[in-house]
């Protein structure tokens, strides 16, 4: 009976030592793991910040690339519109020249807004800047602003 009691006390002591030892080991491991984790968290914080900044850089670069592409499209469109405008103006000028050319050789009475009466004249040349007419006294160059409103309309100087 006494021996059994001693055995129990011994078993209890051993068990207590075992659990204490196990607890100490776990506590040491836990402290070491937490310390390493803290160090790692400090180290990774910089990387996280750098990664965020890099993500921002990538996003902005993507936006810039997209905008450059849009800009190239707009510039191409602008060039097309300008080219079409130039072609339209050329066609208008060519049409004007063709229409005015039909007056060359015609004879008509011209009186300028200044009051000068050129009498019956023959149109020998007509362009955007002048009308050359042959009068009895020679060739006279008439500027479009010297013509009456009716003649300006007729010669398409104010279409």
């Amino acid at each position: 009976m006494k021996n059994l009691l001693i055995l129990l006390v011994f078993a209890a002591g051993y068990t207590a030592w075992y659990f204490y030892h196990q607890k100490s080991e776990i506590n040491e491991g836990l402290a070491a793991a937490q310390s390493q984790l803290t160090d790692l968290e400090k180290s990774i914080a910089g990387k996280r910040a750098e990664s965020q900044a890099m993500a921002k850089v990538t996003a902005i670069q993507g936006q810039i690339a997209k905008q450059k592409s849009t800009l190239a499209e707009l510039q191409a469109k602008l060039k097309t519109v300008r080219d079409t405008h130039v072609a339209t103006v050329k066609e208008k000028n060519a049409t004007l020249a063709t229409i005015r050319q039909k007056f060359v050789g015609q004879t008509m009475a011209i009186k300028l807004v200044t009051g000068r009466d050129l009498g019956q004249v023959r149109i020998i040349k007509i362009d955007d800047t002048n009308i050359s007419v042959a009068t009895t006294s020679g060739v006279v160059k008439v500027a479009p602003h010297e013509l009456s409103d009716a003649l300006k309309v007729q010669f398409l100087y104010n279409p």
Partner: protein
């Protein structure tokens, strides 16, 4: 003697079992904490490795003059933001130019039609 020893033996036995159980539970709880801490450490380590791989390729995007690390990336991001703002200005300018050019073209087309309509043929 026999009758008095039984209660003591039972009490000691119960005490040993009780204490053992309590210690075992406490150690299990601590072991769980340790396992959690180790798992977290592994996760953060993996994240660190992944970040390093990602950064290794991203760092090539940053020109040398901008600097290195977070400061370099932030500096370059600021520079790119300025470039983006300029680009937005260019876009607005191009859009305005197109609108003006389209208006001019429309006017020129009208003039052409007007001139053509006055052709006596």
């Amino acid at each position: 003697m026999k009758s008095s020893s039984h209660p003591i033996r039972r009490a000691v036995l119960l005490l040993i079992c009780g204490l053992g159980l309590v210690s075992c539970k406490e150690n299990q709880a601590l072991q769980k904490q340790l396992d959690e801490a180790n798992a977290k450490f592994q996760a953060v380590s993996q994240e660190s490795i992944d970040l390093e791989i990602k950064l290794a390729s991203s760092r090539r995007l940053i020109p040398a003059y901008a600097g290195v690390g977070v400061a370099g990336a932030n500096h370059y991001a600021t520079q790119l933001a300025t470039e983006l703002a300029n680009s937005e200005g260019q876009l607005a300018q191009a859009q305005a130019s197109i609108t003006a050019a389209e208006a001019e073209l429309e006017a020129a087309r009208k003039e052409l039609q007007l001139v053509k309509s006055k052709d006596p043929r």
